[in-house]
Amino acid sequence: MHVRYFAAAAEAAGREEEVLDVDSDATVSDLGSALVARYGPVMARVVTSGSFLVDGLATRDPARRLGARVDVLPPFSGG
């Protein structure tokens, strides 16, 4: 799975993107757990308060199935 990181997520991961080896039927919840285990407490805050961009839609639904590509989005703070 191709994962892209933005803003605080990129900072926590120390990279802007990578390919992660996760099951093809993985959910938002699965990816969130994997990211927290891999990158620690700042990523945990991103996963808890942010969202995941899947097929053009930002979702926080833990049961949402992921596709081949997902973007990790910290909570928005525009304006």
Binding site: F6, V46, L53, P75, F76, G78, G79
Partner: protein
């Protein structure tokens, strides 16, 4: 907005922009204002010098590559829901105190719709547009806002 021949509704024409350029409020207002409009409300989001009791020196804004499309979707929604003309532009990059980060403008025949639509527009931009800011505090530390 006029319907097309097959009865489908035409998507309202809006202006949405995310860029590092200085925001051109006059151009944004010129986009929304038509001779049918008796009211125009413009909101400017301005960098302030404090947040949660700390002094703020600078903000760094970052946007997702699709942020402008998200912003456009919000503008279209507000235009349809309130029947108003809508334009919004968000600046990214490094901004200082007093710089304008967001200009959101709506025009309508009467003021009540314009006030309500502009307020909803700004709320929804903040809620739905993938843009992030990092604050540089006077103490020398930085922090991601809302994280």
């Amino acid at each position: 907005m006029a319907g097309s021949a097959n009865g489908a509704t035409t998507m309202p024409e809006v202006f949405a922009r995310v860029s590092a350029d200085r925001l051109d409020r006059a151009a944004i207002e010129a986009f929304v204002l038509t001779p049918q409009d008796g009211a125009m409300v413009t909101f400017e989001g301005v960098i302030r010098d404090h947040d949660h009791g700390e002094s703020v020196e600078l903000l760094d804004y970052e946007a997702h590559p699709d942020a402008e499309e998200f912003l456009r979707t919000v503008c279209v929604e507000i235009a349809e829901e309130f029947g108003v003309r809508v334009a919004a532009a968000h600046r990214i990059g490094r901004l200082g105190v007093g710089d304008v980060a967001l200009v959101a403008s709506v025009a309508s025949a009467h003021r009540a719709d314009a006030f309500a639509a502009c307020s909803a527009l700004v709320d929804r931009i903040k809620e739905r547009t993938p843009i992030w800011k990092r604050q540089h505090l006077a103490t020398g530390t930085t922090e991601w806002v809302n994280l």
